[in-house]
């Protein structure tokens, strides 16, 4: 219901103002309202029902958000798919979520001919255009009154098991995070947010919060520093949402030396730690405010923020910037290893509670139970609360690699490598990387004569590019404890 409500409100308040802009076209709030109503009717006429899942496979573009909003009106769930996943990875997600339809760019749909669904619609094709313009079909169907607690989306995250988990988010979750963000970060309708993050990722909730304020969201079909800089100039972007590694690339581009970035008021960054050297360079080069975003798909997205007023001067940052304060309506507690509240200043696991939290993992009660402790959702991040109530992250309890803001679980890479007939064992760790923050390094025990190139080629057939090991090193034995657990500290040493 929430997405429909925010769209309706913005249609009333700012009918002629651009809601979304991409490289090809833009749509006003009034236009979005009308097009999504026609799309919802068209989807209904083609058999999509409330509660059905619809997979979306596309680079970021206006039609993706139109599809999300249309499905929300219909009470169907959007299931964004990462377009860089291999066909096997995509098929795995589709088999678990059983989409009634797949909507995507024609070229990407062609790459996944085995994607199971009874209806396929190309976002960039004539059928979608006809649906959005109203082909007369389905208008007799009355759109349902979608309940707040109805599921709205299934967003996928990497998982320790090596199989992506579907995070089921309802309309009330989107609303809770948006209202909390409106109260805490105060986005406004005069803002133009350049969204550099993929809309298939939980980070897309950040853009939803700015839409809730009536701001304009500019989309890019993948991040390129040169096009992002040009988009800031062209649209006079006031805000930009990216991961720190994108910011580094942006500042390295020659175009950054001459681009007019004077419209920028805030750089929103998150999904990976901000390197101190990059923060110092960005502050000096951009001269605008910085806002940190700390989020997790399972708790509804961005639930903590450090605003510009609380960002320390670069020379006052010793190792890491604090993450910030929890947004209005959500609660954070630091729990010790017994599941009890840790004392102020003591390190424990950051846990979250509130109306933004997911309904659960899609059809996976066990995993949902495992991530919940006494009603609190575990983030897997270790940190503490300071005397002023700010959250500081210090480490991760999960065995996780964050590569340019995308989570990669070593288990998934290890399983892919072990599937090679010459590999007897494998262990993967994250190693620091200037450009990506971290990259996976694979230690492999393999038959004599096996080459690293052969294993990398094998991994390329199994894993999306961002999950592939950057390097393979051969060892005689993977160090394990008596219980068989890999001793990764020894490999990182």
């Amino acid at each position: 219901m929430w997405l429909t409500q925010l769209m309706e409100r913005n249609r009333q308040c700012f009918p002629d103002r651009a809601a979304f802009i991409d490289e090809r076209r833009s749509v006003t709030w009034a236009g979005l309202h009308d097009r999504t109503a026609r799309l919802a009717h068209g989807f209904a006429a083609r058999g999509v029902r409330p509660g059905d899942r619809v997979a979306v496979l596309s680079l970021d573009r206006v039609e993706v958000l139109e599809t999300y909003f249309a499905l929300a009106r219909l009470g169907a769930l959007f299931v964004p798919l990462n377009h860089s996943l291999t066909p096997d990875e995509v098929t795995g997600i589709a088999e678990r979520t059983e989409p009634a339809a797949v909507v995507g760019e024609a070229e990407l749909l062609a790459r996944h001919p085995d994607l199971p669904a009874r209806l396929r619609i190309a976002l960039d094709g004539e059928e979608f255009a006809a649906l959005a313009q109203g082909d007369g079909e389905g208008t007799e169907v009355e759109l349902p009154d979608v309940a707040d607690d109805a599921p709205a989306a299934i967003l996928h995250t990497s998982a320790t098991t090596g199989r992506a988990k579907g995070v089921t988010v309802d309309h009330a979750s989107f609303r809770a995070i948006a209202l909390g963000w409106l109260a805490s970060a105060r986005p406004a309708d005069d803002m133009v947010l350049l969204n550099c993050c993929p809309l298939y990722h939980g980070s897309m909730v950040v853009s939803l919060t700015y839409m809730a304020a009536g701001a304009t969201v500019v989309l890019l079909p993948g991040f390129k520093p040169q096009t992002a800089l040009a988009a800031i100039e062209e649209h006079r972007a006031t805000h930009i949402w990216l991961v720190p590694q994108m910011l580094r690339f942006l500042l390295q581009a020659k175009a950054a030396e001459t681009a007019d970035l004077s419209s920028l008021r805030e750089v929103l960054y998150g999904a990976a730690p901000m390197p101190v050297d990059l923060y110092a360079t960005a502050v000096s080069r951009l001269g605008c405010g910085f806002r940190q975003v700390y989020g997790m798909t399972e708790v509804g997205g961005p639930f903590v923020t450090l605003g510009p007023e609380e960002h320390p001067a670069p020379d006052a940052v010793a190792e890491r910037l604090p993450s910030g304060r929890v947004i209005a309506g959500m609660s954070v507690r630091v729990l010790d290893t017994e599941g009890c509240a840790a004392e102020r200043g003591a390190i424990g696991e950051i846990c979250v509670r509130g109306p933004g939290v997911m309904r659960g993992y899609w059809r996976d009660e066990q995993a949902t139970a495992e991530i919940t402790v006494n009603g609190w959702t575990r983030t897997g991040d270790l940190g503490f609360l300071d005397a002023e109530g700010r959250i500081h992250l210090v480490d991760r309890s999960k065995d996780l690699i964050i590569r340019a803001g995308l989570n990669v679980y070593p288990t998934e890479i290890e399983q892919a490598l072990r599937a090679h007939p010459a590999v007897r064992d494998a262990a993967v760790v994250g190693i620091p990387d200037d450009d990506y923050g971290e990259v996976p390094l694979a230690y492999v025990v393999a038959d004599e004569g096996t080459s690293a190139a052969e294993l990398l080629r094998h991994a390329a057939g199994q894993l999306a590019p961002y999950k592939r090991p950057r390097r393979v090193e051969f060892i005689d034995q993977v160090p394990r404890n008596p219980a068989g657990k890999i001793l990764k500290k020894l490999l990182r040493a």
């Binding site: 800089l229 690339f249 390295q252 020659k254 175009a255 450009d435 390329a460 590019p465």
Partner: protein, 82 residues
């Protein structure tokens, strides 16, 4: 090996990808990580001193496009050219 292909090998650290890419393959669909393609453009700027604009980016699809772009902007002969 062309200048840009050498840079691609250097960046990916995995010669079998970069060497296996055909001159006329769309790099964004070749299985090379999108971040590595961003780094490739930045490296071209850094090594050649040539600025790559957003407009230029629209015409840079294949390895041959990149090689041609670098050759034209730096005045160097294209690899394999007459």
């Amino acid at each position: 090996m062309g200048t840009v292909r050498e840079m691609l090998v250097e960046l990916t650290g995995t010669p079998e990808f970069a060497e296996g890419v055909e001159d006329n393959t769309d790099l964004s669909a070749s299985g090379i990580d999108s971040g590595d393609l961003v780094r490739l453009v930045l490296l071209i700027e850094q090594r050649t001193g040539v600025e790559v604009t957003a407009e230029d980016m629209e015409g840079l699809i294949t390895l041959a496009d990149y090689e041609r772009f670098v050759a034209e902007r730096t005045g160097a002969a294209q690899p394999g050219g007459a």
